[in-house]
Every structure is written in C-alpha cells, then in structure tokens.
C-alpha cells in the first residue's frame, strides 16, 4: 500500500513536470488556430474558436513548399553521399587488410571531436570562391563531411558483428569484395543503415549555422531557415508565426513518433559524439 501511494505521488510529480515541459509546444499549436488579436491579448489560452487562416497565410507567404523540396533534396543528397562513402569505408576498415588502417581509424576518431563551428569561416570563403554558395550541391558536400565521421564509427561497429564467414562464402562463389559487400553485408546491416539515414536527415533538417551562412537566397533555404527568416519579417503577427512554426515542426514530430525507439537510440549515439 505504501509503495502504491508513493508511486502515484511519483506520477503526479512527473505529470506536473511534463505539463510545464510541453507548454511551449502546446502554445504554438493552440495559437496557430487563434486570431492574432486574441493571441496578442493573451499568449497562453486554449483556442477561443478554431480557424485555419493562419496556416493559409503562413504557407503562401513563407515559401514553405520550396523549402520542403529543398530540405528533401539536400537531406536526400547528404544521406546518399554519407551512405556511399561510409559503407565502403566501414567495410574496408572491418573486413579487409588496409594500408594505413590505424591512421584512418585515428583520423576519423579525432574528426568527431572537431567542432563544426571552427570551419564555418574558411568553408564559406572557400565555397564562395568556387561559386558554391547558395547552391544545394555546396551544402550537401559540407553536410556530408561533417555528419560522416560519427555515422562511420556507428557502421563500423555494426559491421564487426556481421560474420566474415558469410562474405567469404560469397567470395568463393565468385563474388568480388564489392559484390560480397552489396549482396551479403549490406542486407544484414539494414538496421544500422536505417538509423544512419534517420539521424543524418534529422541533423540536416534541424541544422542552422551552415544553412544560415550558405543558403542566403529565398530559393535555396531549408525549412528551419525559412521559418527563421519568416519570423524576421512578420514580428507582429504572432498567430501566423505560430502556424509557420507548426508547419516547420510537424514533419519532425511525425517522424519522431513513427520511428521512436530507433530515433532516440540514433540521436543518443549522434549527440554524444564527444
């Protein structure tokens, strides 16, 4: 009985923290449905009435369709580059005799520790000399390079668990190493591939620093950056800003609830890259 009581007290405490914790997100969802006059009269309130005008004006003036397409292209491109280079590298580092193996492993371990802020200045001026500012290709290359090292190490430790016997059987059957990688290792490594796709895409979606520096034109912006610029132009219209926040946030929340466990585990591995 005593245990039961303390457990319900525990749940009361946790629920209290949870409610306060969720206020900022709940508020933008509520305020997106309210009129701007009402929002400015009281920021915290349940919707007095429900109307979707804010979403219409946020969507049309915020250029979000272009931003979503940009994000998909940049995210997809980054994921593609990261997968190709990492699958090859992780396979070689775990399965094959490689000249300079220790050097490469050491290099990528140190690479994880390099804060990406350190390179923003030279990368901007380098890309601008190459004409790759405001270009999707430019930012895909940058994102792929900075999000690559930790996912390489994730894939490497997963590949270690794929038995070499299976690949050798394929080699005996006449496969090349590349064939064994594509036919045997890769299908077995599907869970880690999915995790890497997920975390790299989420990082691209939420990234701010490089997007803000490298994507200055209206037509190249990602969703998070479009929202940021949108707020700068419509400071007084809190209701429409809330609606655009919902538009920018909803896909990530949906992805989070759909993939949950894997999302948390992947982000934990990615967030502790120190």
């Amino acid at each position: 009985m005593k245990n039961l009581l303390s457990r319900s007290a525990l749940n009361v405490i946790l629920l209290g923290v949870l409610v306060i914790h969720m206020v900022p997100i709940a508020v933008i969802f509520f305020n997106a449905l309210r009129t701007n006059e009402n929002v400015r009269r009281a920021l915290l309130s349940f919707p007095e009435s429900v109307q979707f005008d804010n979403f219409v004006s946020a969507w049309t003036t915020g250029n979000f369709l272009v931003a979503f397409i940009n994000t998909l292209v940049i995210g997809g491109g980054t994921v593609g580059v990261v997968l190709v280079v990492n699958v090859l590298a992780a396979y070689a580092l775990t399965k094959l005799p490689v000249l300079g193996r220790d050097f490469f492993i050491g290099y990528f371990v140190v690479a994880i520790a390099v804060p990406s802020f350190a390179i923003v200045v030279p990368v901007y001026f380098g890309l601008s000399a190459l004409g790759l500012v405001n270009s999707k290709l430019g930012i895909i290359i940058v994102y792929a390079a900075i999000f690559m090292p930790f996912s390489l190490l994730l894939m490497r430790s997963y590949f270690m668990g794929v038995p070499r016997d299976l690949e050798e059987a394929a080699l005996i059957d006449g496969c090349s190493e590349l064939g064994a990688l594509l036919r045997i290792t890769l299908p077995l490594a599907r869970p880690i591939i999915v995790t890497v796709v997920l975390i790299v895409f989420v990082h691209v979606y939420n990234e701010f620093l490089f997007a803000n520096v490298l994507l200055q034109g209206d037509d190249a912006r990602t969703v998070a950056l479009s929202f940021y610029k949108f707020v700068g132009r419509f400071t007084e219209d809190t209701a429409t800003i809330s609606a655009s926040a919902v538009i920018a946030l909803a896909p990530m929340l949906a992805l989070y609830f759909l993939t949950q466990r894997r999302f948390v585990e992947g982000m934990a591995a990615g967030g502790l890259k120190g």
Partner: protein, 290 residues
C-alpha cells in the same frame, strides 16, 4: 601488400571528402590567422598581431569568453543534475517509463531556429509570458525583462537550451541506470546503507563513464555554442549575451575581418580539442582504476 594498398581505395572517398571540407579549411584557418584579410583581396601577413589583439585589446572577446564560461557552468550543473534526478524518478515508474521518456525527449527534436523563436514570443515584454503572470496576479513575475535586462539575458537563453537538452540527458542516464547491477543495491541494503549512501556509493560510481562523457560534451559544446544565442539575440543587447562564436561570426561576415576571425577560431578550436583530449585521458584513467 598490393591488395592492402588497393583496399585503401575503399576508404579514399570518405577520407577525401572529410579532408577537403574539414581538414584543409582547418589548415587554411591557421594560415589566415596570421594575416589581415577581408575575404576578397590578397591576404597580407601580419605575424602574431591578430593573436595579441584578441588576447590584450579586445574587450568584447574577453567578455564573450566569460559568457562562454558562465554558460558552461550552467550546463555542467543544471541539466545534468535535473536529467539525472528525472532519470532516477522515471525508472521507478515501471512500464510507464517508456512513455515519460518519449515525451520528455520531444524538445530535442525541435530545431534551435524554431525553439529560439518560440521562446522569444514568451519573452516578449508586452505580449509574452509577463502578460500571463499579470493576469493571474503574480505581479512579481510580470515585469521581468527576460531579454532586455542585460544581467539575465544569458540565463533566459540558457533556459531554452536547457529545455531542449535535459530530456536527452535524461535518456542517456536512463540507459546507464539500466546497466547498473541490481545485486550491488541489494548488497548495499544488507549492509544497512541509506538511500543517500546508495546513491553516492553505488549509483554515481556505476554511471561515472556516462557522467564523464556528458561533461566532455558539455565543455566542448559550451565553447562553440551558437544557435540559440544567434537566433534569439545575436549577442545583444549591447553584447550582454555575446559568445565567442557570435563574435567570430560577426567579425567574419559583417565586418569582413576574416584574418582576425580566423585567429579567434583557432584559439577556440584549440581550447575545445585540449578539453576533449584531457577528458578522454581522465576517462581512460578512471577505467583502469578498480
């Protein structure tokens, strides 16, 4: 041996990509730190003058570093203590713990660009949370200038970052707590240890590696923190929330003092790598110890 050399080709794309985007710019950063350069004209060599300006003549950079240290101290204490407390509470809720974790984790999914702007609505001096506090009669909270009052700006920004971060810290601690051998608690209980003694003599030593990892990430992260400050105040008002990163950003991209910005980047990056290396050593030493 020939095949070992050929196998290196598998690694080359990854290595070349990273070297071109990260290592080469890092080396060029060191080169530019000894020059005066506006980003366009030919850089001219100026010796150590950027470094002496940074260390002796730039009050803004010094204030930024103080802010970075303050930020670091906030993040070494509040989110880690709160995350650990909440982790210890949620693991006692049985099956519900999965639900709590999933919900507490949500802000970590929100982009800093979005979270920062959401909280700026709350911090608005006229239509923000102050208005709400006034309406429920808590007048002592109604008139706080969360951004405008220069002595609390940094804490208002840190609050948002903590909101975003602590759920993640909690999830990490939950994973660590699940690894602790239950028999250690039973043994401690038989020996008559109090709850507090169990925490300090069983829980803390057992989660020590996780704690050290979080401390390392916090220290390194605090010196390059950028997003929330830039999104919310750009370092203002009047430099109150200036960070090394926002100051470097402005020197490089607003006033085009690229050589000087490079010198400051070298300094900050060097500090990060040293902190990282130091804590890796501490962690390794602590693993060797029984």
């Amino acid at each position: 041996m020939a095949s070992a050399a050929r196998n290196t080709l598998f690694i080359l794309p990854a290595f070349a990509l990273h070297a071109a985007v990260v290592s080469v710019p890092l080396i060029s950063l060191m080169f530019f730190s000894f020059t005066d350069w506006n980003g366009l004209a030919t850089p001219s060599f100026v010796g150590f003058s950027n470094f002496s300006r940074m260390l002796f003549d730039d009050a803004n950079f010094r204030r930024a570093l103080v802010n970075n240290v303050t930020y670091m101290l906030i993040f070494l204490t509040i989110p880690i203590a709160f995350g650990l407390l909440m982790a210890m509470l949620t693991v006692r809720t049985g099956r519900l713990q999965v639900v709590y974790q999933a919900l507490f984790f949500i802000p970590y999914v929100v982009s800093p660009a979005i979270a920062g702007k959401i909280f700026m609505m709350f911090y608005d001096p006229y239509n923000g949370i102050g208005q709400f506090f006034a309406s429920i009669g808590w007048s002592f909270l109604a008139d706080i200038q969360y951004i405008g009052n220069r002595s609390i700006t940094l804490f208002s920004i840190a609050f948002v970052d903590i909101w975003h971060w602590w759920g993640f810290v909690m999830v990490i601690f939950v994973a660590a707590l699940h690894q602790v051998d239950r028999s250690l608690y039973e043994a401690a209980e038989i020996d008559g240890a109090t709850k507090l003694q169990r925490f300090f003599h069983v829980t803390l030593p057992q989660i020590r590696p996780t704690l050290l990892t979080l401390i390392t990430v916090t220290i390194v992260g605090s010196f390059v923190t950028f997003d929330y400050v830039y999104v919310m105040t750009q370092g203002g008002p009047a430099g109150a929330s200036e960070m090394a990163s926002t100051w470097i950003y402005k020197r490089a991209f607003s006033s085009y003092e690229v050589g000087y910005a490079s010198a400051m980047s070298v300094f900050v990056c060097g500090a990060c790598v040293m902190a990282y290396w130091l804590f890796q050593r501490i962690r390794r030493n602590s693993e060797v110890m029984p």
